[in-house]
């Protein structure tokens, strides 16, 4: 018995010795050895959802397992809180070493001097971007420097309750137009009382998509919006018509509904049977988290593009999120090594499950497909959808001007609340006129 026990112990030791070093060697970290960094706590901040939070923590833990001297200070927030918190950190020169960045905001952060130029690290080979397509690398370029690396690719995506549409015998087409979307919404509302949520909150996404449908690649200009008030009237008219017909929920019904927290979106969460939605205007990478929340209610999700009068002009491929290294880091080499691990390591990307979008490193994307599909059945849907969008879209708009955040908060939000009123006090023309005028004022004052 004793012998057997000793044998078992020996076997375990031999096995673990043969497995563990192989894993340590396997981490793709570039030219810098994180083991030489000494005790260090890497700060890492992102906006997220439950799935992203879990997988990102797992990827960081896996790094610590291999390099026990590197610990992490992880900071996750919902979208709206993330930016105000990070600005406060920036003011205090206390940003995390690595922060998640958004394509729209990147220029403002570079202008404020908060992000590190990664060019020297790319040239030295510490950050290996040889497997990332050049057009994707360029999306992180501001001026002459590269300030961000794409964490994954995604596209705007209409996620819908496929269980419901199947039950009603409704086919949701690809390249869905606004008229088709409104027609389906009317039908679902008439039969089930389930509506749709559109254009809510402080986001520029829907107006931008609308303006692109009119033929404006970019909605934002240097001195205000590119479309005219007459052209933007149709956007507010859509909302007012939807609310008048009942399938778009009015401001009073939406009050108290939290849209920034994905798990509370009316597509997947029923605060009230009055406010259930058959579709959410989201991004393709979010389907995993939405599906996770929806499964409890036995809902299967489908995916198509955001409705637009001209989907091919409106739709775009987006570097879904970036990772940037901030100028507040005390050990840029270590931060770069960790970044290299996030971008190029197949094991890390298997753990991350492509939740931030399909990996930009094409070899990694191919290597993880099988494993990720096992844990996330929606992955195949996303890959197919992105392949479709690649052929049915137009180039993305340039990063947004600095004043856009203030416009989102002070102009778009109150106007969309106005347009969503059961009895609006303004016409769609007046809303559009105020949008154009107030935006120009803020741009001039910035």
């Amino acid at each position: 018995m004793k012998k057997l026990f000793a044998l078992a112990i020996a076997l375990i030791v031999v096995l673990s010795l043969s497995v563990l070093p192989a894993m340590a060697d396997g981490l793709v970290v570039g030219t810098y050895d994180p083991a030489s960094a000494g005790e260090y706590e890497l700060g890492f901040g992102w906006w997220g959802n439950q799935v992203r939070d879990e997988v990102t923590k797992a990827a960081a833990d896996f790094f610590t397992e291999n390099y026990p001297n590197v610990k992490f200070n992880l900071n996750t927030q919902v979208w709206n809180n993330y930016w105000s918190l990070m600005s406060t950190y920036a003011a205090n020169n206390d940003l995390p070493d690595i922060m998640q960045q958004d394509y729209a905001f990147i220029e403002q952060w570079v202008a404020a001097g908060d992000l590190l130029d990664l060019t020297p690290y790319i040239e030295s080979g510490a950050l290996d971007l040889s497997k990332v397509p050049q057009n994707i690398i360029d999306t992180g370029k501001v001026g002459e420097g590269i300030y961000a690396v794409c964490a994954g690719v995604n596209a705007p995506a209409l996620l819908y309750n496929k269980t419901l549409t199947d039950e009603l015998g409704i086919e949701v087409p690809q390249n869905i137009t606004w008229d088709q979307f409104a027609e389906i919404s009317r039908k679902i509302f008439a039969e089930k009382g389930i509506g749709a949520v559109y254009g809510e909150g402080n986001s520029e996404n829907q107006p931008t998509y609308y303006a692109r449908g009119l033929g404006y690649q970019a909605m934002w200009g240097d001195e205000g919006l590119n479309p005219t008030a007459e052209e933007m009237t149709g956007y507010y008219q859509r909302i007012m018509d939807g609310v008048a017909e009942g399938w778009m929920f009015d401001t009073d019904k939406m009050a108290g509904v939290n849209l920034t927290d994905l798990a509370q979106n009316p597509l997947v969460y029923g605060t009230s049977s009055d406010v259930r939605s058959w579709a959410a205007f989201a991004f393709s990478n979010q389907i995993a988290a939405y599906q996770k929340a929806a499964t409890a209610d036995g809902i299967e999700l489908g995916i198509t593009n955001w409705a637009s009068d001209d989907p091919v002009k409106s739709n775009y491929m987006k570097p879904s999120q970036f990772f940037s290294i901030t100028t507040d880091t005390k050990n840029p080499d270590l931060a770069v090594a960790f970044l290299n691990y996030l971008i190029n390591d197949p094991q890390a990307n298997t753990i991350l499950r492509a939740e931030r979008g399909v990996p930009a490193n094409s070899e990694v994307a191919a290597a993880i497909a099988e494993e990720v599909t096992k844990v996330d059945p929606t992955y195949g849907l996303v890959v197919d959808y992105l392949a479709f969008v690649e052929k049915n879209s137009s180039p993305i708009f340039p990063p947004l001007p600095g004043y856009s955040g203030t416009v989102n908060q002070d102009v778009l939000l109150p106007l969309t609340e106005e347009a969503h009123l059961a009895k609006p006090t303004m016409t769609a023309e007046q809303c559009a006129k105020q949008l154009i005028e107030d935006t120009a004022n803020i741009a001039a004052d910035y």
């Binding site: 709206n80 809180n81 930016w83 105000s84 600005s87 406060t88 920036a90 003011a91 403002q108 404020a112 402080n202 401001t251 009073d252 019904k253 939406m254 009050a255 108290g256 605060t271 009230s272 049977s273 009055d274 406010v275 600095g402 004043y403 856009s404 955040g405 203030t406 416009v407 989102n408 908060q409 002070d410 109150p414 609340e417 106005e418 009123l421």
Partner: protein, 307 residues
């Protein structure tokens, strides 16, 4: 002979100094706290209120620009001020009246009175907390407890949305009324101090309970009512947590407290901070609260009975 008094004087001075130094040392924690968290920030914010300042780049002096913009071109400022006044001038009297009623009930001597007082005081200790704000939000959700109870009595109100434009501010007013505990405790101790002879005398004169209340209790309580009114009014003007967490000013700014508007300008969800503008808002609030408090004090002689 001449050197002596000087020496004595010097000695007594150093002795005085020792005492005052000890005093300063003991009050140092307060002085440091006051300087760091009150005086210096206040002086800075006064300066920033004349600047365009986004906390990332150095402030740029713009004179009265912020104040001019607030008063001429800011509809949200007017809205937030209206909402805050509504909340303060409706919520505060309700709270004080409610506190008085509960104090009168708890003034009776029973065995469990200590327990009752503790239980009724509890909401004011935990009332400003994040946990209660979230609890309140859940209670008033359309599928929350309040609606579950309500829909039994009034079936037509099932699914009523408390967070829609009209009722939302009342959710916050009810919360502040519920936090009546500290006012109630002050009323309780004031009630104890009303001399028994006054009640006995009025009883002998044939006064009934209601007459005793209006002619003895109420006049004797007016200084306490005044104190509670002043304190709670100031608190209402400065209320923040409840609004930020329960409604965040929605819908359409109908529950936007002034302090929350100020905070959103300083730390916006998107776009850069407008700290200078927010500082100007803060100084306007300081003036408003001072004026309201002054008016309350002016009114004192009209209705407060000083024995």
């Amino acid at each position: 002979m001449t050197a002596n008094p000087i020496k004595k004087c010097a000695r007594s001075e150093s002795w005085l100094n020792e005492e005052s130094i000890a005093g300063y040392v003991f009050s140092l924690p307060f002085i440091i706290g006051f300087l760091m968290f009150m005086l210096i920030p206040m002086v800075l914010s006064l300066y920033y209120s004349f600047c365009k300042y986004d906390i990332q780049t150095p402030p740029e002096f713009v004179g009265l620009n912020n104040y001019i913009r607030i008063f001429t071109n800011d509809k949200v400022f007017t809205k937030a001020l209206t909402v805050t006044c509504y909340y303060a001038f409706i919520g505060t009297p309700l709270k004080v009246i409610f506190a008085l009623i509960v104090a009168l009930i708890l003034n009776h001597e029973t065995r469990a009175v200590g327990l009752y007082r503790a239980v009724y005081y509890l909401p004011s200790i935990i009332g400003g907390s994040v946990a209660v704000a979230i609890l309140w939000r859940r209670l008033f959700e359309s599928t929350g407890t309040i609606n579950a109870i309500f829909s039994n009595v009034f079936p037509s109100l099932a699914g009523f949305n408390w967070f829609s434009e009209g009722p939302a501010i009342w959710v916050l007013i009810i919360l502040t009324v519920w936090q009546f505990g500290s006012s109630m405790l002050i009323f309780l101790s004031a009630l104890k101090q009303i001399p028994r002879e006054l009640y006995e005398a009025s009883w002998v004169d044939g006064a009934n309970g209601i007459q005793q209340f209006t002619n003895v209790t109420l006049p004797m309580l007016t200084p306490t009512i005044f104190f509670n009114l002043v304190q709670q009014t100031i608190n209402s003007f400065l209320a923040f947590t409840q609004c930020k967490l329960i409604t965040n000013g929605q819908p359409r700014n109908s529950t936007l407290f002034y302090t929350v508007y100020q905070y959103n300008k300083a730390f916006p969800a998107q776009g850069k901070s407008q700290m200078g503008y927010a500082s100007a808002l803060a100084w306007i609030m300081l003036i408003i609260v001072s004026v309201v408090t002054m008016l309350l004090f002016k009114s004192r002689s009209k209705w407060v009975f000083d024995a």
